[in-house]
């Protein structure tokens, strides 16, 4: 049969548009709040170190709800989710980093969310998603260099400048790139799974 005449997904697309109109601000705020809570819960469930040489650089699946929030709700909701998630983390007694760790995590994730959210702009197709995630990863890794340049000496005042720079480029930069790549893969897989179910978000 010749299938070229058929349009494969007209119903899905119009469905998306219709649902988008229905989304109210209240619903977005509630969804963002729940995603922040989910992000926090997953962070506590699934913290594992990425590079064996630097066990304090941890990653977790808590970024997935946040990035999904940035994709569906927009960049500023992504930033808000990152903020609330770190606030919850602090209120629950704080992770290994305390206030400083939370601030650094917030800066990293919000830079990722801003770039991702403004590239994707709520239109979800694979091309834009991959572009957004790649740009987000790169921007996050680049932003983390000056931030860590400021933050690491607060934990290790004795560190020398060459040691700090070699740490930043040999451990920290690859770590952030791997972390971003892992986030990209897991989130895109999750997003496709959600889209397959043809849900209205």
């Amino acid at each position: 049969m010749d299938r070229s005449g058929e349009k494969p997904e007209p119903t899905v697309k119009s469905g998306w548009k219709e649902e988008k109109m229905k989304r109210t601000k209240l619903r977005s705020i509630i969804l963002a709040g729940i995603l922040a809570a989910l992000s926090f819960v997953l962070m506590r469930f699934t913290e594992f170190p990425l590079i064996p040489a630097a066990p304090f650089l941890k990653t977790d699946l808590g970024d997935i709800p946040l990035l999904i929030g940035a994709v569906y709700l927009g960049p500023w909701y992504g930033v808000a989710i990152a903020f609330v998630k770190n606030l919850l983390f602090l209120a629950s007694g704080g992770g290994s980093g305390g206030l400083l760790g939370s601030t650094v995590n917030f800066i990293a994730l919000s830079s990722f969310a801003i770039v991702l959210g403004s590239i994707v702009k709520r239109t979800i197709n694979l091309k834009r998603l991959l572009l957004g995630f790649t740009a987000g990863t790169v921007v996050m890794a680049l932003v983390m260099i000056p931030v860590n340049f400021w933050a690491v000496p607060l934990f290790l005042p004795g560190i020398t400048r060459p040691a700090l720079i070699s740490y930043l480029f040999k451990i920290n930069l690859p770590f952030n790139l791997i972390k971003g790549a892992l986030d990209t893969i897991t989130t895109v897989v999750t997003l496709t799974a959600i889209k397959k179910r043809n849900l209205s978000i």
Binding site: I29, L38, L61
Partner: protein, 265 residues
């Protein structure tokens, strides 16, 4: 159970600190935590440490709770202390094969260990004496001046209270789904990095889909009850600053001034 150790830091008591205005507590603890990074002497840190112990005693918290709050930073503490101890150049006090302990190293290690402990002690004092509702209300009040620059403070506060409300629910749900999927043969925490990341999809997807459903239901329920985003609402509990709050503000300022003025040992 483990659920308690999540937000279980708060325990109600009739202590003075529990009665303080949450806004005052948040601002004071936040400012002293930032201030910690400006104290350059160990004697200043000793003063602050004594002060934090005084606050912990005043909060009537259990010693075991205090030590449990140190547990997450234990690894970082050990790592930084050992790093400072062995890799700081200076006058060698003791050497063991290739490891050299210098006097500067000992100084820096003590300094950084105290800084990390103080950070977690002061945060503990706040979270142990303030309930979640008070924290949210206090935080909303603290950021409310940002309204001038058109920052949506009410929206953020609503998000925070919803997030706090849903953490125990989602935690329970995650545990349940994890058990259900384990009984179906999903292996969490096993295999390579990619395998582990993939094994969380059966956990993540139900959680996310439930989150979407919940957001729908809650939004409908709230709108049906006449909730309007950003509109001013009345509160059941009004916060007000009393004499005891002013006393603590004064005390904190005094301690901060004293700790920066004490001479270097």
């Amino acid at each position: 159970m483990r659920k308690r150790s999540f937000f279980g830091q708060y325990n109600f008591s009739d202590s003075l600190l529990c009665k303080l205005d949450p806004r005052v507590k948040i601002v004071l603890v936040f400012s002293i935590v930032v201030f910690l990074f400006f104290v350059k002497t160990i004697s200043g840190y000793i003063l602050l440490l004594l002060f934090s112990i005084f606050l912990i005693l005043l909060a009537k918290s259990k010693i075991s709770d205090v030590f449990r709050s140190l547990a997450p930073i234990l690894f970082l503490l050990l790592f930084t202390v050992l790093f400072q101890l062995f890799f700081t150049p200076g006058k060698v006090v003791y050497s063991f094969f290739f490891l050299k302990v210098t006097s500067e190293g000992i100084y820096l290690a003590t300094y950084i260990a105290m800084r990390l402990m103080l950070l977690s002690f002061f945060t503990f004092v706040l979270t142990a004496t303030t309930s979640n509702i008070e924290l949210t209300d206090g935080f909303e009040a603290v950021i409310s001046p940002l309204k001038i620059v058109r920052f949506p403070t009410e929206d953020v506060a609503l998000m925070i209270s919803i997030a706090m409300r849903f953490v125990p629910v989602l935690f329970e749900e995650a545990t349940r789904i994890m058990k259900a999927q384990t009984s179906r043969g999903v292996l969490f925490n096993k295999g390579s990095l990619m395998q582990r990341a993939r094994s969380f999809l059966p956990l993540l997807l139900p959680l996310l889909l439930n989150a979407f459903n919940r957001a729908d239901q809650l939004a409908i329920a709230m709108e049906a009850r006449g909730f309007v985003v950003g509109k001013a609402r009345t509160k059941y509990r009004e916060m007000q600053i009393k004499k005891i709050d002013l006393f603590f503000i004064f005390l904190f300022i005094l301690i901060m001034a004293a700790s920066i003025m004490v001479k270097r040992i």
